[in-house]
């Protein structure tokens, strides 16, 4: 069991979401930064879809009832145990009774805490992801609260062995991190600015030329009205070349909708399944994890790419993750 001593902000249980139900109005949802979520899981010997804890800007305080193997990936929210910094992007064995806390958000916005075995809350519609709007998934369909107890599944054999071996040499330390980590080229840098690859949206030709030029290549600021549903962006006003109404149609994460006011909204994990605003662009799936790590005030620059290019990047990332999985398995087996 994990015990939540302090909940932090918007802390929730997430996995890779619940695809297959959008025809019934239920969004797929899932981790905002699926890349960090996947890597954190791999580092503790889990499958990539195991449930992790996602926290934004202010992290929770988590007490471990038993010896555990954890990994932290995503934004650097100054994780620490007993006041000592805990390194990210690598496996960390923690002793029963240890308390993981967070401090300042140094870089990025969202951190993922993976525990070997995964957070074992009941599945709802095939997923453990929390969807607060419909009050389903996670723990009672809500964000975590003080005193919550989260069950943990069974770790893999190698994860168990690795943890036991490492902790037997830990002395009086509360935790012991691996002396290896994910290689630097697989750890994203989260700055105050990011270039996001962007495809043309289905209604891009509805917009006037100035707006298209302002959008592809322009700079937009992430506003404070940004959450798991979407990011409201501030920048040049985007206008249609003539007034037109769109019939509501399916939308997906990464779609950039432009309401009549002209300020774009970049849809994220908990968006609605359908929308009636014209879509000027569609962020490449491979870059959504970067968007998810942008704090309010950060600046995004949109670079136009083709669908083919975006899809190539995505398959390349999948290949990288498969390779990472193999090398982590070898490391955990080898101790």
């Amino acid at each position: 069991m994990l015990i939540i001593d302090k909940p932090g902000l918007q802390t929730s249980v997430q996995d890779l979401g619940r695809p297959g139900f959008q025809q019934y109005g239920v969004v797929a949802g899932g981790a905002m930064d699926p890349y960090a979520h996947r890597v954190a899981n791999l580092l503790v010997g889990n499958s990539q879809n195991c449930a992790t804890i996602e926290a934004a800007l202010a992290g929770p305080t988590i007490r471990f009832e038993t010896d555990s193997l954890i990994a932290l990936a995503g934004g650097d929210l100054s994780p620490n145990i007993d006041g000592k910094p805990v390194p990210m992007w690598r496996p960390v064995a923690v002793k029963a009774g240890a308390v993981l806390a967070f401090g300042m958000a140094v870089s990025g916005c969202r951190v993922y805490v993976a525990v070997a075995g995964g957070i074992d809350v009941p599945e709802v519609m095939g997923s453990r992801s929390t969807y607060t709007k419909a009050r389903i998934g996670g723990l009672d369909g809500r964000c975590l609260e003080k005193g919550d107890r989260l069950p943990v599944g069974n770790p893999s054999v190698h994860a168990k062995q690795w943890t036991a071996t490492v902790l037997s040499q830990a002395g009086d330390k509360q935790f012991c991190a691996a002396d290896w980590s994910v290689s630097d080229d697989l750890i994203p840098l989260y700055g105050k600015e990011a270039e996001i690859r962007m495809m043309r949206g289905p209604q891009h030709h509805w917009f006037d030329e100035e707006s298209l030029a302002a959008f592809f290549g322009g700079i937009f600021t992430v506003s404070s009205e940004s959450d798991r549903m979407g990011y409201r962006l501030k920048g040049d006003t985007l206008r249609l070349s003539e007034p037109r109404e769109l019939l509501s149609e399916g939308v997906v994460a990464g779609a950039v909708q432009v309401p009549s006011g002209g300020s774009p909204i970049l849809l994220m994990a908990d968006r609605q399944t359908t929308g009636g605003y014209p879509k000027i662009g569609q962020a490449a799936a491979v870059d959504l994890p970067i968007v998810a790590q942008m704090q309010p005030g950060a600046k995004l620059r949109f670079k136009e790419v083709s669908v083919e290019e975006a899809q190539q990047q995505l398959t390349q990332q999948k290949k990288q993750l498969s390779e990472l999985k193999l090398s982590i398995e070898l490391k955990l087996k080898g101790v």
């Binding site: 025809q23 239920v26 083919e308």
Partner: protein, 232 residues
């Protein structure tokens, strides 16, 4: 009807049948969604059926390209014909109108120069078509409301509308399956759940269904709600 195909980013493709709401488009969209569902195409994760479009989400990370998906969809939809209307179900939704459940019933009546009873009679007298499900889990976009009870949205939206509230916005009517903020005029509430997360099909309504609203008393509402709780 000629179908159009275009990408929605790197993980979805949109099939369009027509450019305005019509019986023909509705029938095509239903047939297209049914065919794609039936074919169980490898890598397809979601199908979102709307007024004139079907959006098909697929796993691009598994190496499926847009070109392949468009080719596959063109193949299986090459002989598609509109779905027959007779297949739709008729679903009756009991509604307790007015009072605490429908605080805006009097506004809708006054706005249209009607009595509250007349609004109820008109709202429950029509049969509505479920055009699409979207916006929220199990939320039906209904066609067929009588213009005589149309009413503008509230100028400032309510922060929380309770689940199962029946409302009117412009010339549309609908039922909120889950609690949500919104600017609709609220005219009543149903004791029936529209979002069913424990069921295999988690939505009471599906595109193509027909809906009728049946007025019930507060006592009937309370009894039905108590029965629902006993059942779960």
């Amino acid at each position: 009807m000629e179908l159009k195909f275009h990408p929605l980013g790197d993980g979805a493709i949109v099939v369009t049948a027509g450019d305005s709401i019509s019986e023909e488009s509705t029938a095509f969209v239903r047939a297209i969604a049914e065919r794609i569902n039936h074919e169980k195409i490898r890598g397809v994760t979601d199908i979102i059926q709307a007024y004139v479009t079907v959006t098909v989400c697929y796993e691009a990370e598994a190496g499926i390209t847009y070109k392949e998906m468009e080719k596959k969809l063109r193949e299986i939809l090459s002989d598609i014909s509109p779905a027959g209307k007779e297949e739709g179900r008729i679903v009756e939704i009991p509604v307790c109108y007015g009072g605490d459940f429908g605080p805006d019933l009097s506004f809708v009546a006054e706005h249209n120069g009607l009595t509250e009873e007349e609004v109820i009679r008109i709202h429950s007298g029509n049969t509505y078509d479920v055009k699409m499900i979207g916006f929220a889990p199990g939320f039906p976009f209904l066609g067929g409301m009588d213009e005589r009870i149309a009413a503008p949205r509230r100028s400032s939206p309510r922060l929380e509308i309770p689940a199962r509230t029946v409302g009117i916005a412009g010339a549309q009517t609908g039922v909120y399956p889950i609690g949500t903020p919104g600017g609709w005029q609220l005219i009543g509430r149903t004791p029936v759940e529209l979002f069913l997360p424990q069921e295999e099909i988690p939505s009471l309504l599906r595109p193509g269904d027909q809906v009728r609203f049946k007025p019930i008393s507060t006592e009937e509402y309370e009894k039905m709600e108590a029965d629902r709780h006993a059942y779960y």
